[in-house]
Amino acid sequence: MRDDSSLSPYLALIMVFVPLSLVAIGGGPSIFAPIQKEAVDVHKWMSAREFIEIFAVARVAPGPGSMLGTLIGWKVAGWGGAIVATLALFIPSSILCLAVAKVWNRYRGREWHAALEMGLAPIGTGLMFAGAIAIFRMAEAGPLAWGLAIFVALMLTWRPRAHPFALLGIGALVFNLQLWLAHMGYLR
């Protein structure tokens, strides 16, 4: 297809991630498939197995799922590659978003602005719920994960100021309790 082997690895990373940054409509997961194609098939930066491993790491590490790009950069060119890939993936979309936010803000108070907001906000809310399902589906989560998520949501409804650290900590505790019970033979 393309031969970028003559390019410096930094330039190759920029050329892969800048366009993807600008087409990631609906968020990071929408470009996971093209990222895989570029990294594995086109540039042969890693094997398919290595890609899946990186994907798993991006899920357990803090940050948005798009940290996948950071890890590809790291595989390709070390720390420099990690930073270049992160910037290439996040800066273009962020500049676009800032421009849209500025325009959006300028027309605040107009009737059509209110209508756009009223029409778009429910879609955002629907996507929020859909995202919860998608995350669990990807993680092959069981009833415990669902129960815990709903417990946290209710907890925050009841006590909006409850600290997230405490709630996340409860999550870790509950899952370890399950692990321990399973280990002791109380759970199958």
């Binding site: 929408s30 940050g63 992160t86 978003c97 919860a132 709630l167 870790a172």
Partner: protein
């Protein structure tokens, strides 16, 4: 709890304070509960933004290309402290995870066999999804207050299409968004549209 009215908003924080709040959210954001957590901090805890402003930012963040959470972060930073606020927020949120995810990748080979760590990560991630569900509940309450049927239909249709049916997000949004906006578009000759 009531939404903070505009006059109850706290004065805008320093860039450093804004950055430090987002930095810690970034560092501890496992499993994608970031939007819910940002909401909790900037709307509830510090009152830098109103609920409505934040929720419209969420819709915007999802429609503009790019990771939803970084877009949201840019929007939130911009609304609180202008373009510098947006820049600061983005770099603060991303700097921790960028460094940490490489460390996790380096350590992964050594720790992937310890089930306790997996249980911690899975548990934190599940709880973080709860933060997002809470944000969905807040959005739903706001739709109820609009007292119109069209936004509720748009919300449910989006959720069912993308979440339950697993249809691709972009075409779904491209179809539902114009319909949803058209249904609430102000009609000529005054009077609100009741779809």
């Amino acid at each position: 709890m009531a939404d903070p009215a505009p006059e109850e908003l706290a004065p805008p924080p320093s860039l450093f304070k804004l950055g430090s709040v987002l930095f810690w959210i970034g560092v501890f954001s496992f499993g994608g509960g970031l939007s819910g957590w940002i909401h909790r901090q900037v709307v509830h805890r510090y009152r830098w933004m109103t609920n409505d402003d934040f929720l419209s930012g969420i819709a915007l963040a999802q429609i503009v290309p790019g990771a939803n959470v970084t877009n949201l972060c840019v929007y939130v930073g911009y609304r609180i402290r202008g373009a510098w606020g947006a820049t600061m927020s983005l770099f603060a949120l991303m700097s921790g995870p960028t460094i940490l995810c490489v460390f996790v990748a380096i350590l992964y080979h050594y720790v992937q066999d310890y089930p306790v760590l997996h249980a911690c990560v899975d548990g934190v991630a599940a709880a973080a999804v709860g933060l997002n569900i809470r944000l969905g509940i807040i959005g739903t309450q706001r739709i109820q207050r609009m007292r119109r049927i069209a936004p509720m239909i748009a919300m449910v249709a989006t959720f069912v299409s993308v979440g339950v049916m697993e249809w691709p997000l972009v075409p779904v949004v491209l179809i539902i968004a114009p319909l949803s906006v058209a249904a609430v578009w102000p009609r000529k000759g005054g009077g609100a549209a009741h779809a």
